[in-house]
């Protein structure tokens, strides 16, 4: 594959990745800090024969996506926290209908209107099935502009493969920061056979795309089927990065912007001779439970570092059980820790001597 190096904001990298991935339908409503995505798509989709609509709301946006994806188009929307909350009904419908799409959340501080600073406080919503009903959304967490592009491409592929909604969970910092990005020149998105879409009943029986099953037995069967799919996803799609965890006494667990900061912390600690490592989940659903458990069995403590009051830490604790202590460091509301600040928290950890 040939590449060209470009200087891109994280948000622009998402747009670039989407178009490379064959996304031709974008619908969205402006909200900071993700406005570069609709702006990028409005500029660049027409040239590739795509469609951009600035919708009247996020409610409309997700439902435009639903229609376009049901017709077989690769479709996406993007927003930030309050807007993504508005989309939850539609996402739940799409999970039930098994209509695939990509939804980007460039997270900002909450609750409510909150703030526009970077945050990771939508973790629960993104990883536990943010709307009503028995479903999950896949969730990818980029931590560089390069990954904003790469994971967007992956998100479309995974969405089509499993017929599910894939969330890209970024934050205001990743969205706004410009970095150099290697953009593939001749990427060919994989095409999936779509024998369920709305394209007219020519030479076949009519199709129905729906999430309504009034007969409880039928709905239960449908949910069993969805659940089977999520199990397969959990088996096959876990992604994570290990950074100097092999000999680490203390391992930081962080994703996205927090993970970038934690990498610097690991370097600082190593320079001081402290055995610190980082485990970075790239998929937040499915969650790298086994890898975290394995790490916990070797380490003396884990420190979960998040831009929230503690959301992913619950999943880490569940994965670790009693294998080792799990501690938490968080900032919230758009406040971001410095590497020094996290390093101080690391230094305060008292490791029980087993000797």
């Amino acid at each position: 594959m040939k590449y060209v190096t470009k200087l891109l904001k994280g948000n622009e990298a998402i747009g670039e990745g989407a178009i490379l991935a064959g996304c031709r339908y974008y619908f969205g409503y402006p909200i900071t800090p993700q406005n570069e995505i609709p702006e990028y798509m409005s500029r660049n989709l027409p040239a590739v024969g795509g469609t951009f609509v600035q919708s009247e709301s996020e409610l409309a946006a997700i439902n435009l996506v639903m229609g376009a994806a049901a017709a077989g188009g690769r479709a996406m929307t993007s927003s930030s926290s309050p807007g993504v909350s508005l989309m939850q009904e539609g996402i739940s419908y799409m999970a039930g209908m098994e209509v695939p799409a990509v939804v980007v959340n460039v997270v900002r501080g909450g609750p409510g209107l909150g703030g526009i600073g970077p945050a990771q406080s939508d973790y629960f919503q993104a990883t536990k099935g943010g709307g009503h009903g028995d479903y999950f959304t896949l969730c990818l967490a980029p931590s560089t502009a390069q990954e904003m592009l790469d994971l967007t491409i992956l998100a479309f592929d995974i969405a089509d493969r499993y017929r599910c909604v894939t969330i890209i969970l970024a934050d205001g910092l990743l969205g706004q920061m410009a970095e150099s990005v290697e953009v593939p020149l001749d990427y060919k998105p994989r095409e999936y056979k779509k024998d369920w879409i709305m394209d007219g009943c020519k030479g076949r029986p009519p199709r129905i795309v729906r999430s309504l099953f009034l007969d409880p037995a039928e709905l239960e069967k449908h949910n069993f089927h969805l659940s089977e799919k999520y199990r397969e996803i959990c088996k096959k799609e876990v992604r994570f990065e290990r950074f100097k965890t092999r000999d680490a006494d203390i391992v930081l667990v962080a994703y996205g912007t927090s993970a970038r900061i934690c990498k610097a912390v690991v370097e600082m600690a190593r320079a001081d001779g402290l055995k610190l490592g980082l485990l970075r989940p790239v998929t937040l659903y499915p969650f790298p439970e086994k890898e975290i458990r394995k790490t916990a069995e070797r380490a003396k403590a884990l420190l979960v570092v998040e831009l929230s009051m503690g959301q992913m830490v619950q999943d880490v604790k569940r994965a670790v059980g009693d294998a080792c202590p799990v501690l938490f460091k968080g900032r919230t509301g758009g406040m971001v820790f410095t590497p020094e600040e996290v390093y101080q928290s690391v230094k305060k950890i008292k490791i029980k001597d087993e000797g």
Binding site: T51, L59, N63, G67, G72, P206, I208, R210
Partner: protein, 246 residues
């Protein structure tokens, strides 16, 4: 020689509907099916059923049909049409779906001049949830949430949303019909055909509002319900073409 002069349209599946006795939805389904048969368009129809009594439309229509969340029907239909501009796309909506929870979607769909057809069934009540107030409910009309009758002081006025849509430059053809007499049924069919043809000519947004009886929730007999449309409902919601710039 025997000649068939009346049969089930190919665009309808051969199964009984769940609609209550005297309900208008079945008639509207049949009219739509007849128009699609007449146009030979069945294999290129993409339709969107609403949340409301017509949610099961996809069990009766013999062409592709999908569901939409309550009120988002025009957005879903727009998504379909943007991907498949040469297909015949229509949304089918009740008055709660279109004129209450989905008000924003229908206005902006019309204002963008989306090249789709909307079939808007106005029965003046929330049928599916058991007869609560709709935005279209008449003043003094009984509903389960206005048991003294709709009082405009607290519950507002009947909303004439089709007239509101007429001021958007994107709307091309808007008409109000009814299914309470054979003559009106024929007119309904004519308007729907016109709406579909406008779409095929890619002229823009069109909508046909259809006054339809809901005897169960109106607490009237089927015959008295038809009479009510003639004598009361159609006075508040006048029948005819509201806008035509096709």
């Amino acid at each position: 020689m025997l000649k068939t002069i009346f049969r089930k349209p190919e665009s309808l599946k051969d199964r009984p509907t769940h609609y209550c006795p005297g309900c208008g939805h079945g008639i509207v389904h049949r009219i739509i099916a007849e128009v699609i048969d007449d146009m030979g368009a069945r294999e290129r129809v993409l339709s969107v059923a609403p949340v409301g009594c017509a949610v099961f439309a996809y069990d009766y229509f013999n062409f592709d049909c999908m569901e939409a969340p309550h009120g988002r029907t025009p957005a879903v239909a727009t998504g379909l049409k943007r991907v498949r501009p040469d297909h015949l796309v229509f949304s089918y909506q009740g008055d709660g779906d279109l004129a209450a929870i989905g008000t924003a979607e229908i206005i902006h769909c019309a204002n963008r001049g989306e090249n789709i057809s909307v079939i808007f069934v106005n029965n003046g009540i929330y049928g599916m949830t058991g007869g609560q107030l709709a935005p279209t409910t008449l003043i003094q009309q009984y509903s389960t949430t206005t048991i003294q009758g709709r009082d405009p002081k607290t519950a507002g006025y009947p909303l004439k949303i089709t007239e509101m849509l007429a001021i958007t430059p994107g709307s091309v053809f808007l008409a109000r019909a009814s299914v309470h007499t054979p003559k009106e049924i024929r007119l309904t069919k004519k308007y729907i055909r016109k709406s579909f043809e406008i779409q095929d000519k890619k002229l823009g947004f069109s909508l046909v509002e259809i006054l339809s009886p809901c005897p169960v929730n109106w607490r009237l007999s089927p015959v008295a319900s038809l009479k009510r449309i003639e004598e009361v409902v159609s006075k508040e919601y006048p029948l005819g073409v509201i806008k035509d710039i096709s």
